[in-house]
């Protein structure tokens, strides 16, 4: 259990983290989501007592990190896989960390085995690949068999195999009842990894919800409907006060109608009452990236030199209220001709 209360960090006049309050529950993976520079790492460092908050507190199982006795047995963290002396062997690195919290030496070999580094345990850590370093970092976090785990961007720069391995590893840790807090700037990754989300932008809390709910709220959903009698269908729907857009035949299929802010049930029943034949009735969802940018667009710290009108940041145009066309393959498809990806929010 991690609880942050009004957490604030200022560097001079820059506010890195601004009055941030959230809670991370045990037994599931909680994603910590935000664009680069949103204050994720700073927050994690404050949780771990490395940085002093300007204001506010953060507690782990009810206590500040500095008050924990043998903290590595309660909290494991991977903030930077490169925090290893390059000329020290992986085993020596784990050995000194284990000794510092009176963790038995045999545990070193157990965690090396768990992350699959046994074969290279005696090799100098400076020669490790990124994936191996990341595994060593995870081994370090697991050393004290802690109930709370923090990972800062653990999949950054990993190959698909490594990403899959880490994702499964986190699920396993959460299933064992641990608190798992993982930061990332990739919503698509978090959608697969995390059950809950803490979303921040420019150091401020944007949302704390379940991942499902966040995606539902963030991405506008629409229903794609198609039938032999398109004009009657159009008239029926507009007659019910629904917004209807024509979608010409294209990559997504033959010409159809797109109806935002409704459900397939509603349209199906409407068509049924008047005896209209439907050839297609499908719920559609905007891409995760679009949703993320829509929510954090105003909160991107560093962005490309966009000189858009007020309210647009780095060329990110907030979707019009009526909603842009939402294709099935919306990733990277420009919305209303404007780039969907802004500045740093890759």
């Amino acid at each position: 259990m991690i609880e942050a209360q009004g957490l604030t960090k200022r560097y001079g006049r820059t506010v890195a983290v601004n009055d941030l309050s959230f809670a991370v529950a045990p037994g599931k993976v909680t994603g910590f989501l935000g664009p680069n520079g949103a204050g994720k790492s700073t927050t994690m460092r404050m949780i771990l007592g490395l940085d002093n908050p300007t204001a506010g507190t953060v507690r782990i199982n009810g206590r500040r990190y500095a008050e924990l006795r043998h903290p590595l047995r309660q909290v494991g963290a991977l903030l930077d896989a490169k925090w290893v002396h390059p000329n020290r062997s992986a085993r020596a690195h784990l050995r000194w960390i284990a000794a510092s919290n009176r963790i038995p030496a045999q545990r070193v070999d157990e965690v090396l085995e768990a992350v699959g580094l046994t074969a290279v345990a005696g090799k100098r850590a400076g020669g490790f690949s990124l994936g191996m370093s990341q595994r060593l970092g995870i081994a370090t976090a697991l050393l004290g068999d802690p109930g709370v785990l923090l990972f800062d961007e653990p999949v950054n720069g990993l190959d698909p195999e490594g990403i899959l391995w880490i994702r499964q590893f986190m699920h396993r840790l959460a299933d064992e009842g641990r608190t798992v807090f993982v930061s990332s700037h990739l919503l698509s990754e978090m959608a697969l990894t995390a059950q809950d989300l803490v979303v921040i932008g420019r150091g401020r809390l944007i949302a704390q919800t379940s991942t499902r709910e966040f995606i539902d709220n963030a991405s506008e959903s629409a229903v794609r409907v198609r039938g032999p009698e398109m004009e009657r269908l159009h008239g029926l729907l507009t007659g019910q006060g629904l917004t209807v857009r024509d979608v010409p035949a294209g990559d997504a299929g033959p010409a159809a109608l797109l109806v935002p802010n409704t459900s397939t049930e509603q349209i199906g029943e409407l068509a049924g009452t008047v005896g209209l034949v439907l050839h297609e009735l499908a719920a559609q969802r905007g891409s995760l990236e679009e949703a993320f940018i829509q929510l954090t667009g105003q909160d991107v710290e560093y962005h490309g030199g966009g000189s858009g009108p007020p309210g647009t940041v780095g060329g990110v145009v907030p979707p019009p209220v009526s909603g842009p066309p939402l294709g099935q393959a919306a990733v990277g498809v420009p919305a209303s001709g404007a780039p969907t990806r802004g500045g740093d929010a890759r």
Partner: protein, 253 residues
Amino acid sequence: MTLLTVERIKLFSTRSPWWCMILATVLTVGFTSLIAATTSSNDVADLTPDVTQFAYNFGLVVMMVMATLAVTTEYRFGTIRSTFLAVPTRTPALVAKLVVVATLAAVVGELTGVGSWGIARLIQPDAPLGLNTAQEYRSVFGIGLVYLLAAVFAMAIGLIVRQSAGAIVIELIYVLLVENLLPVIPRVGDHIQHWLPFIASNNFVVAGAPHHTDGPQVIDDMPLGPWGSLLYFAAVCFGLFLIGTILARRRDA
């Protein structure tokens, strides 16, 4: 105790401390053996115990580099953060490091002190190298204490500067240049010199020794006696270390 083990593992699981220790001993003892071997039979009467220690500054500087690196490489590679994660109150970890590194420096100091004297005795058996006076004992066995305190000084600078190159440059410029140049200032120079920490530590080693052209420089009229000088040096070193520790506790890691 566990933290001492931690620092011991950290120090000896990399190679640079070994190199520094070997280099410090070989440099110092090697130079002394050169001096002893090239002393002509006319001058052999001048080869007193304090003269065999003329090269102790070589080893001292090398051990200071080792002590600095023990701190700054932790900042360089981020392991200081792992250390502070393991010991969030920070001070015990820094004190443990101080104890391990300073002890090691003291051992190397003793090794070079006794080694230099011993090798001179072997090479020039006729030289007056017996240890009789307190001064003679201090100049051979006191080297370890000077190394120990200099290591504290070096770690303190490392904690304050947190960067290898910067810390080492500051130390070398201070020890090799500043303390030698300040006394040149007219009128006040001599007074300043009496209170320079490394001059004081040198006074601990050589106070009361006869004046030679060889051997560590002997300065007359030092305000403190040998042990007073050492205490003064210790106060400066531990004072700096206290500042370094307070900074390390307050700063974001």
